[in-house]
């Protein structure tokens, strides 16, 4: 399956590629150019352009994006009815849905399948799944009430990369190691990150049925 990945860095892309392939059960084929966003702030403006470009200009079949939750709300299935404006996953899904509905019908061109992941509080928490008992959405809910987010994020990064200023090759090495480890058995990460990762995995599994 030809899948476009929109990520914040080549590190995140390397991780997501392995995970999406593992969930899908097949090696994904990549679209020609790696798609990037610069921090959360530009994502919502960027997504309509990316979806339209993928639909009109490429033969991409699916599109996956993973963003960090930072300090925002953890996604909850109850949001599906109300769309919480402080939930990044909901905001992205809303934009995707609006954009998909605005596309012109093209003969033989199917709608692009999508999947949205919300890493709580940052993608490094997913890397730590199975290594650090504090790496879970439930643990973050408790921790976030006690400490400043920036300190938790710094500690998380230090725990993963072992240095304060990790280079891209070093970060990629850890990301790929974590992805390969998690890919062998996704049940733990789906259980510990049910709303940000679990729903992402379900989106991807639904691609095959649609």
């Amino acid at each position: 399956m030809k899948v476009a990945l929109l990520s914040e860095s080549e590190v995140d892309e390397a991780f997501t590629r392995i995970i999406v392939s593992a969930i899908l059960g097949e090696e994904i084929e990549k679209v020609e150019y790696p798609l990037r966003f610069r921090g959360w702030y530009g994502v919502l403006q960027l997504i309509p352009t990316v979806i339209k470009s993928l639909y009109y200009q490429t033969d991409a079949e699916a599109f996956a994006i993973v963003v960090d939750s930072d300090e925002t709300l953890i996604h909850n299935p109850s949001h599906e009815q109300t769309i919480d404006s402080n939930c990044r996953l909901c905001q992205i899904k809303k934009i995707i849905s609006e954009t998909q509905n605005s596309l012109k019908l093209i003969p033989n061109r199917q709608q692009i399948k999508t999947a949205v992941g919300l890493a709580v509080p940052a993608i490094e928490a997913w890397y730590q799944c199975g290594i650090d008992a504090q790496a879970s959405e439930a643990a973050w809910l408790v921790a976030s009430k006690e400490r400043r987010y920036s300190h938790i994020k710094q500690k998380l990064k230090k725990d993963v990369y072992k240095v304060d200023r990790a280079s891209i090759p070093l970060m990629t090495k850890y990301a790929v190691e974590a992805a390969n480890r998690l890919a062998t058995d996704l049940s733990d990460i789906e259980k510990l990150f049910p709303d940000g990762f679990g729903s992402f995995a379900q989106d991807i599994r639904d691609w095959k049925d649609s």
């Binding site: 860095s9 990037r36 610069r38 921090g39 702030y41 530009g42 930072d70 300090e71 400043r148 920036s150 994020k153 710094q154 240095v163 304060d164 200023r165 990790a166 280079s167 891209i168 090759p169 070093l170």
Partner: protein, 338 residues
């Protein structure tokens, strides 16, 4: 390492302090004293004489204190360099430092003179693509010129003296610029050296003069990160110039390699780095390290420097918007005032 530098009556730096970290990025409008500060540090380090009337702040020609640059080294010690006229300045080494009491003043003075002498080797780079690509006559102990000239001499030396590092540099060039896989050398005329990059596909050789400006700048900065024997302080004017925004994170890595060698597993003294930039893309890479960003502002001809992390509200501000947008908005200062 230098923790801060205080300036008195030096051009637009009438009375201000520049805070520094192992790596410092200075942002601010044109003419806000960024380059002036770097040049002042260099002059102080060299304890060089200068035309007093050209450097003393307007209206402060008769100030009894003269022109002063005070270098605050890490661990509370200081070096004060003072010019009163066109002649060579005086250097003072106040005694409130970390030495045990048993160490004589003479030995302390010798120590700080040595530190200042090492600092006098500091370099302020402002790269120029023609200089970087120009062939050179080979000579021993080649050093990169301040415009990036003699890059080929430095590369040639690295290949001969530190072949492992030269291989790592080749790998890094290929990672950043996948179009190329190797640095090669040519002898255009007797005794001359030029460099080429070999294309990954087809193994074609591209002469340095035919490489793009951004490719040459990226190569110069990557090379800096791999060559040995740097002075303790390196300044780079707009290292992001000509480089694609997506490569700026790699550029940051290359510079961090110098100032935080332990982060890449290297065991050597860190090199303090000061960069200037006007690039919002580059600035955004320092969101998690506001202590490394210094904002230069100029009001009524008076320059101030403020470390971003010293703003008590910075964490709250950055929750709402990207650092570059916040800077552009003007709420941090460091923007042109019309």
């Amino acid at each position: 390492m230098i923790e801060s530098v205080e300036f008195k009556n030096y051009k637009a730096l009438q009375d201000t302090k520049l805070p520094l970290s192992p790596f410092t990025l200075i942002i601010g409008p044109n003419g806000s004293g960024k380059t002036t500060a770097l040049k002042a540090i260099e002059l102080a380090a060299k304890t060089a004489s200068m035309k007093y009337s050209r450097v003393v702040s307007f209206g402060h020609e008769k100030d009894i204190e003269g022109v002063k640059v005070k270098i605050n080294w890490a661990k509370t010690s200081q070096t004060e360099v003072v010019w009163k006229d066109d002649s060579q300045p005086s250097a003072f080494f106040p005694s409130d430092n970390d030495f045990p009491e048993s160490i004589s003043e003479k030995i302390k003075k010798q120590f700080y003179e040595k530190e200042l002498s090492k600092l006098s080797q500091m370099q302020i780079f402002s790269f120029n693509s023609s200089s970087i690509s120009y062939p050179v006559q080979l000579s021993p102990n080649s050093r990169l010129s301040l415009t990036g000239g003699n890059l080929v001499g430095v590369l040639d030396q690295l290949r001969d003296k530190e072949p492992e590092k030269f291989e790592l540099l080749n790998q890094e060039v290929n990672r950043l610029l996948p179009e190329y896989d190797r640095i090669l050398f040519d002898t255009p005329n007797t005794g001359q050296r030029s460099f080429l990059l070999r294309t990954t596909r087809g193994k074609h050789k591209v002469q340095a003069e035919d490489l793009s400006t951004g490719t040459l700048f990226a190569l110069a900065i990557l090379t800096l990160a791999y060559i040995p024997n740097h002075p303790p302080l390196i300044c780079i004017e707009e290292p992001d110039h000509g480089i694609h925004p997506r490569l700026l994170r790699d550029l940051q890595d290359a510079l961090y390699r110098l100032s935080y060698p332990e982060s890449v597993g290297e065991k050597r003294d860190p090199i303090q780095i000061i960069c200037t930039t006007h690039s919002p893309y580059f600035l955004d890479l320092f969101r998690d390290h506001p202590e490394e960003v210094v904002i230069a502002s100029k009001k009524d001809g008076f320059v101030t420097f403020e470390r971003l992390s010293e703003r008590f509200d910075i964490e709250d501000i950055l929750q709402e918007s990207p650092l570059s947008d916040v800077w552009y908005s003007g709420v941090l200062g460091g923007v042109p005032i019309k």
